[in-house]
Symmetry: C2
Subunit: 157 residues, 2 copies
């Protein structure tokens, strides 16, 4: 048996939902973009973990631009794939991405996050490196891709 | 008197214009975003040159996030204004921004560029610092604002 109090609670919940539906499609788009960004990041981490250069490169747009810390800009999917191949050959074993903020409008989204790299070079103790980043994501026919990718050093400890 | 050759040239030009009108509104939007970004950058440089903290802050969105090199994230227009006040108090006299690339979709645009800072501290020789950057611009009711702002060091020379 449902109490009248419970029914009131349900009615209130429905009313609040109706009120908050202002800007609902914008919020839905934002939630979709955030899910797409997090899914893209999961794929990126998995691809790095299995040293799959092709899968890493496929997560960038054909005309992506990457701005590495203390490095020259890297332009285009192929060159970015080569950048990550060099990084993996140099000992990068895993990448952990933590998304802190996502905003989106139409086919563009922007992400702010933190990244933690695990670096393992034979004969040396395992090391880590961290950075904060901004990625501009672009929705293409086959899904959201990284279009602009830049990071920099965290504050000194 | 107009020669038939000239008329042919005009017809050809009109035909080419018609062909290239595919994607014309997208190009117009992109050109508009690029002009807005360059105008925003000009205003930013002017505001820095006259040490106008309020005008600098007004070029950012209320909920902007800045990711300074080797510094903690700076969140919100007011905190970003304070960041630039500290930079100007610390000797930053001018900022020269060179836009290298702009892309846009709807109310979001992304910019890649280079920045050159002129730093003048009393009793020391004038110095410069440079960086490459990505800025995410957002169109608001009163114009395009910087929404995400991150830079990092150029390659070592």
């Amino acid at each position: 048996m449902i109490s009248s109090r419970r029914i009131s609670a349900v009615v209130l919940a429905v009313s609040l939902t109706a009120v908050s539906s202002v800007g609902r499609s914008e919020e839905a788009g934002m939630a979709g973009a955030r899910a797409a960004v997090e899914q893209g990041n999961a794929r990126f981490s998995e691809a790095i973990a299995r040293s799959d250069v092709k899968a890493v490169a496929a997560l960038y747009t054909e005309d992506a631009i990457m701005l590495p810390e203390r490095g020259a800009m890297v332009k285009g999917r192929q060159a970015i794939g080569e950048f990550w191949k060099t990084a993996m050959d140099g000992g990068v074993k895993s990448v952990t991405l933590t998304t802190l903020d996502v905003g989106a409008n139409g086919d563009l989204a922007h992400e702010v996050g933190n990244v933690l790299l695990m670096i393992n070079v034979e004969g040396r103790p395992p090391a880590t490196a961290s950075a904060k980043y901004v990625v501009v994501w672009k929705r293409e026919a086959d899904g959201w891709k990284m279009h602009r990718d830049i990071w920099n050093d965290p504050p000194p400890e």
